[in-house]
């Protein structure tokens, strides 16, 4: 329809409502924005209560830290995917980056006897390889999606399969042990009683969340995802923004892979496999639009915490490991429905 409809809703019947409108409405608008960001908060609190009631060890400090550290890898991946989704793209290859990048780092360093390449490069170099690999894969995805204008869904789906295949071929059925302690520190050490991975994931969320809200690059990500031609007409270098977000996303995914490897203490060819569905679920539950331009990292973080607590509760409740997936999936569906109801907006 034409443009009268929106004005009918927003303009008051009396145009002379001047000064007090200007004071009242911004407050309401901010409050509404907050509500959308934090739509999951009731669900998270409900889960906390259920957990506390159903299991006395749930609220213990160690268990809560366990939830956080178990969620930190997922959190980094969701952070990466959320930024990519807000920019109007998507990346399905993050889960394979999380497997391949740390594996490359490991194999460059560990001896051939432990299934390494035999190059036995210094530890710092191996550690450097990991984020660089993630960034490089993100850059290649960007080249295909942004420059060659291929469909992002298909490109990253194919890339996901390629990367997984490379990892399987490289590892050839073995498991990579024997990594220097520095490789595992991110996933296993603690600072001030809190796992390093939680500090790192928290810091990444804080920095990215701040930048998306208060820095021109962050606002450019929203503008590009919300309406790319308009962003271009306003002088934003659209291609550069989309590309940059994919590179940052790949780097974060590599970091997530290092967290997973540190928690497990080893890498095999399955690392990260199937995680991408959980990543999308957490992002969408958290209010990130698959169409771009909408959503906040606070919401995405709540989505991560919700799924993390859920997994922990199901484990504590000693649900049979054969059934845990079905229940987990069903609860994700319910969470999506609740998020739909509390925000009152359709998830496109």
């Amino acid at each position: 329809m034409n443009d009268t409809a929106p004005s009918g809703r927003t303009k008051g019947p009396t145009p002379g409502g001047g000064p007090d409108r200007a004071v009242r409405h911004p407050v309401r608008a901010i409050a509404l924005g907050r509500v959308r960001d934090l739509a999951l908060l009731p669900a998270v609190l409900l889960l906390l209560v259920i957990g506390a009631v159903s299991n006395e060890s749930f609220l213990e400090r160690d268990n809560l830290l366990n939830v956080l550290s178990a969620s930190s890898a997922l959190g980094l991946l969701v952070l990466a995917e959320a930024m990519i989704l807000i920019s109007g793209k998507m990346d399905l290859s993050l889960e394979s980056i999380a497997g391949l990048a740390p594996a490359l780092g490991f194999m460059a360093v560990i001896p051939a006897a432990s299934a390494g390449f035999g190059s036995e490069l210094p530890t710092w170099f191996g550690l450097l390889i990991i984020p660089l690999t993630g960034a490089l894969i993100g850059a290649v995805n960007g080249l295909l999606i942004v420059k060659l204008q291929l469909n992002g869904f298909i490109v990253t789906l194919a890339m996901n399969i390629v990367l997984r295949g490379v990892l399987v071929g490289m590892v050839s059925g073995k498991t990579l042990f024997d990594a220097p302690a520095a490789f595992l520190a991110l996933g296993s050490d603690s600072w001030l009683g809190v796992p390093v991975s939680v500090w790192v994931a928290g810091a990444c969320f804080a920095v990215a969340g701040w930048a998306l809200r208060y820095h021109r690059w962050g606002r450019a990500v929203y503008a590009v995802g919300g309406n790319a031609p308009a962003a271009r007409a306003a002088g934003i270098r659209v291609d550069r923004v989309a590309w940059g977000v994919l590179v940052i996303g790949g780097t974060l995914a590599a970091l997530a892979g290092l967290v997973i490897a540190g928690r497990v203490g080893a890498i095999n060819a399955n690392q990260g496999q199937g995680l991408i569905f959980t990543v999308f679920a957490a992002a969408v539950i958290g209010g990130i639009s698959l169409n771009g331009g909408k959503g906040s990292l606070a919401g995405a973080l709540l989505g991560v915490l919700l799924l993390g607590m859920l997994e922990n509760l199901l484990t504590l409740a000693q649900v049979s490991s054969f059934w845990i997936q079905a229940i987990y999936g069903a609860i994700i569906l319910v969470a999506l429905m609740i998020a739909r109801l509390t925000t009152g907006e359709s998830q496109e």
Partner: protein, 516 residues
């Protein structure tokens, strides 16, 4: 604008039966009154215009007349009988159809399929018979004189042919009453003429139209009766012949405004000694060839032409939105990089793109963010955006352009069309540009927003800015010191102040500038 002959009002219209009527309609959305006791009666065989500024309640009435919204109070009658229930979509489709500004045809399906979406002719119960579908389509198109091939994908049709296919589809569902909601918004004047020819023929064949448009000339061209809404209320209904232009605009604006046309014939001083702000030299690209012109500081130049004339692309090239193949653009003596918006911005070009929905606005973001999008780097140090300086900037824009909004934080999608366009204008002005490129700056906005937007041009002139106004609305072009006309990708003519509508339109249409 007399590109189309006036249709004489039909005197016998008043006593014919009403195909659709609505009485005492009230509708509220929360605290907002969208319709307050309005009425309308559309009689058989007439084209009835419904006019009003944005927010007058036209769209709400259309939603109620098409059964998409239920009125809080009041009755809707079709042929004297009460309207069907809201759930009975098929019954509504037999009584009324609406052709919206946005097309509802599916571009990748053929015309025949589009005519039969979800009710394809079948054989043996469920199997679609393509042969019968094509034949039925051909018969329908022939019966109503729509000259399009039923086998081409509908996306290849011209906009006005696509509208005719939509109308034919509605007719085939049984309705003889069709609402046209701003059907000409994306058409050039020649296409509008063709559409009007079709509309007049359908009207003679017994189709009744309710016609909604911002263009008052169109109402005089095709309608016999006009109803005016203002601020959610019914103001008047009268034969168009009895309601002059001035009276019509007074009814729409409550007597406060004057008209869309700014002061006509004011002699301006084209400052011949002012420095050249823009020089376009032998610019060529896929849509135009060898275009050269210059604009001086403080000068406003209009650029016009039919939809395919290349005028839009020349302006977009100036703003960096379109990459020309060859030629040079100099702004204040310095060449800009072809096809680069940042380069054009840095050189001092501000642009209102041709379509605010496409290139103008990010709907989810706030008024403040949209207006300040071109100057994000200047709102704080090291790229950190200071909210206070952004909001202060936004408030200046809101006041300066008289934008009706709840405040800087309101999402721009909640604004009315005219106010959205003002935000786009604010974005173009944010960089304090020496050169303004305005493409269709007043498309689809109400009369008063038009005046506000065009006043920007006058202020730009006073501030010594050069301006290029691309439009096919004569009212826009009247504010210009010179008007350049493009035809088939080349500059065809130039007019200085004092041109007549006839000669300009003739030149736009490419029928020569000489006397007939």
């Amino acid at each position: 604008m007399n590109r189309t002959p006036l249709t004489e009002p039909r005197a016998e219209g008043a006593d014919r039966r009403a195909v659709a009527e609505a009485h005492g309609i009230c509708k509220r959305y929360g605290p907002t009154v969208a319709l307050d006791d309005v009425r309308i009666a559309v009689r058989a065989g007439e084209s009835h215009a419904l006019v009003g500024r944005n927010g007058a309640g036209k769209s709400t009435l259309v939603a109620i007349l098409t059964g998409l919204q239920r009125p809080d109070r009041g009755v809707v009658l079709f042929d004297g009988e009460p309207a069907p229930g809201l759930a009975d979509r098929e019954a509504w489709q037999r009584r009324v159809a609406c052709v919206y500004q946005q097309s509802t045809i599916i571009p990748d399906l053929t015309v025949a399929e589009n005519l039969h979406v979800n009710r394809q002719p079948t054989v043996r119960g469920q199997v679609i018979s393509w042969r019968r579908m094509r034949r039925a389509a051909r018969e329908l198109l022939d019966a109503w004189g729509v000259e399009v091939d039923e086998n081409v994908p509908a996306g290849r049709l011209t906009v006005e042919d696509a509208k005719m296919v939509e109308i034919a589809r509605s007719i085939s569902r049984g309705t003889r009453f069709i609402i046209l909601d701003e059907p000409t918004a994306q058409l050039d004047s020649r296409a509008i003429d063709r559409l009007f020819t079709h509309v007049r023929r359908l009207q003679r064949a017994g189709i009744t139209f309710l016609y909604i448009s911002h263009h008052l000339e169109e109402i005089y061209a095709v309608c016999q009766v006009v109803t005016v809404f203002r601020d959610a209320r019914w103001i008047t209904t009268a034969p168009v012949g009895e309601l002059g232009r001035t009276e019509l605009i007074e009814a729409m604006t409550g007597g406060r405004g004057v008209g869309a046309a700014p002061d006509h014939g004011v002699i301006r001083s084209p400052s011949a000694d002012a420095p050249v702000a823009v020089r376009v030299h032998r610019l060529s690209g896929p849509h135009f060839t060898e275009v050269s012109f210059a604009i001086r500081s403080g000068e406003t130049v209009g650029l016009t032409g039919l939809a395919g004339s290349g005028s839009h692309q020349v302006a977009e090239a100036l703003a960096g939105l379109y990459r020309p193949d060859s030629g040079r653009i100099e702004v204040l003596g310095r060449p800009t990089r072809p096809g680069s918006v940042p380069s054009a911005l840095a050189a001092g070009v501000g642009c209102v793109p041709r379509d605010r929905h496409h290139e103008g606005l990010v709907p989810e973001l706030s008024v403040a963010e949209n207006a300040s999008m071109t100057i994000m780097g200047r709102l704080g140090r090291l790229g950190v955006i200071s909210r206070s300086s952004r909001d202060a900037f936004a408030r200046r824009t809101i006041t300066g352009l008289d934008i009706r909004t709840d405040g800087p934080a309101q999402p721009v999608k909640d604004l009315s069309g005219g106010n959205q366009q003002k935000v786009v204008m604010g974005r173009a002005l944010a960089t304090d540009p020496r050169v303004l490129v305005l493409i269709n700056p007043t498309a689809g906005v109400d009369v008063q927003s038009k005046r506000a937007l065009l006043s920007v041009v006058d202020r730009a002139r006073a501030a010594g800015r050069a301006a290029l106004v691309v439009s096919d609305e004569l009212a826009d072009l009247r504010t210009c010191d010179r008007v350049l006309v493009m035809f088939n990708g080349s500059l065809a003519a130039e007019y200085t102040v004092g041109w007549t509508d006839e000669e300009l339109v003739a030149s736009i249409e490419g029928v020569g500038t000489g006397h007939e």
